[in-house]
């Protein structure tokens, strides 16, 4: 198979043209003219992404060509939108135009640099994704510790806006849960590769569905309890859903048995419903979740709207999306100032007002394509560990987009998740770029010629391109 690196470069150039155009239109709408430096943020981003492209060219030449440009587009538009908020604020306060590294947009640009360096380092250090499985138990422990740290820290060090998800040191804060995802996926994948046989073969049949034996349920129940603890002590449904969904789906991928999905959904919704009932009756640690559910059920009720921590955010977000309509007001022409938390949780609502349903759905399709390429890498790679890691990572990304977007649009109770690659925030950006680097690494193994697939079986014969042996396709036909 061809390396497709030039296709990647072309798409990347296209994405950067879009980011530059976005910047120009923003300035046209904000200043009523396009300044001579509108292209600078896009150019800086292009240099950064080009750097990663070069690293990929040398370390993962067969990697998927679509991942980097698609992510670069979203990341670039995120930087552009944050800069647009900075411009609007500067105009309102009659300040001079902020510098390219000032304000939230500038900081996001700097974070992008950091995230891309991390991704490049991962690609350079991990030349074979199977190496990761050697550190699986360490990673599992690291993941659980990262999840737990904010829960055990005192609120003053870990709580922002009612959710205990942070480690705060002075003005600097990181969200360890974002990185925990990566560690946990690797651990789950390793564990399930070891256990898949027993999980998928030993079973009892009830109502036509194969249910696993009780003792095999142990790890699932453990993770379920862990995610409920997150829900209760960190007051964050989204993260809980993320971890739990991650484990259930990895389990499903490993065993190919739908019963896990059914069990998982039942356990999760059961747990959430009980938490809701407990919140209604005894309050305590469940009260926060109960409030969120109430707000979700009746966002437009006056008592919910006026309450502190009520549905004000959600309603403003919905109104912004509604104002945008089909085509939006145009980049830079909306009023995202009305939407609270528009830099982080509600960035999709803020952008939605300006690019409309038409533009938002394009962004969603881009997310979808990123997830699809991740799953494709999982399908194509030959080793089970790689399959599970790629599937798990791609699914996490998709689930995270679902959780935050579902929250903003009122489909599920709103929880403070970041929108991957779009929201302001270094932790999220770095963790998600690491995720993409891992997917690039696995897709390189999946699409490239088999490194070890020859040697033994071609003695004497001419050294043919190993693609031939590797190209022998297996397909399973279900009876």
């Amino acid at each position: 198979m061809k390396t497709q690196r030039n296709a990647e470069l072309g798409l990347l150039a296209f994405a950067m043209v879009l980011v530059a155009a976005y910047g120009a239109i923003v300035e046209a709408n904000q200043f009523d003219r396009v300044t001579s430096t509108f292209w600078v943020p896009a150019a800086l981003l292009s240099v950064l992404f080009l750097g990663l492209h070069v690293v990929v060219r040398y370390t993962a030449p067969y990697a998927d060509p679509v991942l980097i440009p698609a992510v670069a587009l979203i990341n670039g538009l995120g930087v552009g939108f944050l800069r647009r908020l900075d411009l609007a604020r500067a105009i309102a306060n009659k300040e001079p135009e902020p510098g390219f590294f000032a304000g939230t947009g500038g900081r996001q640009l700097a974070w992008t640099l950091g995230a891309l360096i991390l991704a490049a380092v991962l690609l350079l250090v991990i030349r074979d994704h199977k190496v990761v499985s050697r550190y699986a138990y360490t990673l599992g422990l690291v993941g659980i510790v990262l999840v737990m740290i904010p829960a055990v820290l005192p609120s003053s060090l870990s709580e922002i806006n009612g959710a205990k998800l942070w480690i705060r040191v002075g003005s600097f804060s990181i969200q360890p849960g974002e990185f925990a995802k990566l560690a946990l996926v690797s651990f789950f994948a390793y564990y399930l590769v070891r256990k898949r046989e027993v999980l998928s073969l030993a079973s009892r049949r009830v109502l036509g569905i194969d249910f696993p034996r009780g003792r095999d349920l142990g790890p699932v129940v453990t993770v379920w309890l862990l995610s409920l603890l997150v829900l209760v002590f960190e007051k964050d449904l989204g993260t809980a859903l993320l971890y739990f969904g991650l484990f259930v789906v990895t389990l499903y991928v490993a065993t190919e048995r739908a019963s896990w999905l059914i069990i998982g959904l039942l356990l999760f919704f059961g747990g959430v419903y009980i938490a809701y009932l407990l919140g209604a009756s005894i309050g305590g640690p469940f009260a926060n979740f109960y409030d969120r559910a109430e707000v979700w059920l009746e966002p437009f009720a006056t008592e919910n709207y006026d309450r502190v921590g009520g549905s004000y955010q959600l309603v403003q977000g919905l109104l912004a999306l509604g104002t945008g309509g089909l085509f939006g007001s145009g980049p830079g022409a909306g009023s995202p100032g009305f939407v609270p938390e528009v830099r982080t949780d509600f960035i999709f609502a803020g952008m939605g007002e300006e690019i409309g349903l038409f533009g938002l759905s394009a962004l969603l399709v881009v997310y979808l394509l990123i997830v699809e390429r991740g799953l494709r890498a999982g399908l194509a790679v030959r080793d089970s560990f790689g399959k599970l890691v790629a599937g798990g990572l791609a699914f996490t990304l998709g689930l995270q987009v679902f959780v935050i977007l579902g929250g903003i649009t009122g489909l599920i109770p709103l929880t403070g998740q970041t929108t991957p690659f779009l929201s302001a925030g270094g932790s999220s950006l770095m963790a998600n770029w690491l995720l993409i680097a891992m997917l690039l690494r696995i897709s390189n193994a999946a699409r490239g010629p088999a490194a070890s697939g020859g040697g033994v079986d071609r003695p004497g014969g001419p050294k043919k391109a190993p693609t031939q042996l590797h190209g022998a396709m297996t397909e399973v036909i279900k009876p």
């Binding site: 198979m1 061809k2 497709q4 296709a7 798409l11 296209f14 994405a15 043209v17 879009l18 155009a21 976005y22 120009a24 239109i25 046209a28 709408n29 009523d32 003219r33 396009v34 060509p65 679509v66 440009p69 587009l73 085509f327 939006g328 007001s329 145009g330 980049p331 022409a333 690019i355 409309g356 038409f358 533009g359 394009a362 962004l363 399709v365 881009v366 394509l369 699809e372 390429r373 030959r382 080793d383 088999a450 070890s452 697939g453 033994v456 079986d457 071609r458 043919k464 693609t467 031939q468 042996l469 190209g471 022998a472 396709m473 297996t474 397909e475 399973v476 036909i477 279900k478 009876p479």
Partner: protein, 161 residues
């Protein structure tokens, strides 16, 4: 800045965004078809003469039908098929085999199938429990006719046109 320019820019941006999406889809599509084409080249039977497989599907070679697929007919992997190319197929429990079988009676590198001038030969690689072609034990490279089962442990394989 005139209203007209802003409107054009606004819609132009959205259109450009969707063009990007479709370009990405186009790259993915090309990728898929590239895979299909290379599979076609790999899968072409040797009987045709190994140059460029063009024109009608070369099903009728000189010596009857050429084998195109290796199908697992019994055992855990029953139903698996491998499209045959010009590369040898290795069978065994080792992860790097072309066909990885999880059969307790199979060795890590059990047997291999090698094409010679359009005919496939099966060869035992010193396995513990042996490879059988129909009922006879395979000792050296043995030509494999179409539809005759190769038995490895509990697994049976057949060449199909």
């Amino acid at each position: 800045m005139p209203e007209f320019v802003l409107t054009v820019a606004r819609f132009g941006f959205l259109i450009l965004l969707w063009i990007f999406v479709f370009t990405v889809v186009g790259v993915i599509r090309k990728d898929l078809f590239a895979g299909v084409r290379s599979k076609g080249i790999v899968a072409s039977p040797r009987g045709v003469g190994g140059t460029v497989p063009s024109g009608p599907p070369p099903a009728k070679a000189k010596r009857g039908k050429a084998a195109r697929q290796l199908v697992v007919t019994a055992g855990q992997l029953a139903g698996t098929r491998i499209t045959l190319g010009e590369a040898p197929i290795t069978i065994g429990r080792a992860e790097d085999s072309t066909l990885v079988i999880t059969d307790d009676f199979a060795s890590a590198r059990h047997a291999r199938l090698v094409p010679r001038d359009g005919q496939w030969f099966v060869e035992d690689l010193g396995s513990t429990n042996g490879t059988y072609l129909d009922r006879g034990k395979v000792s050296g490279p043995t030509p494999v006719p179409l539809g005759v089962p190769i038995r490895i442990g509990r697994t049976s394989l057949e060449l199909r046109p």
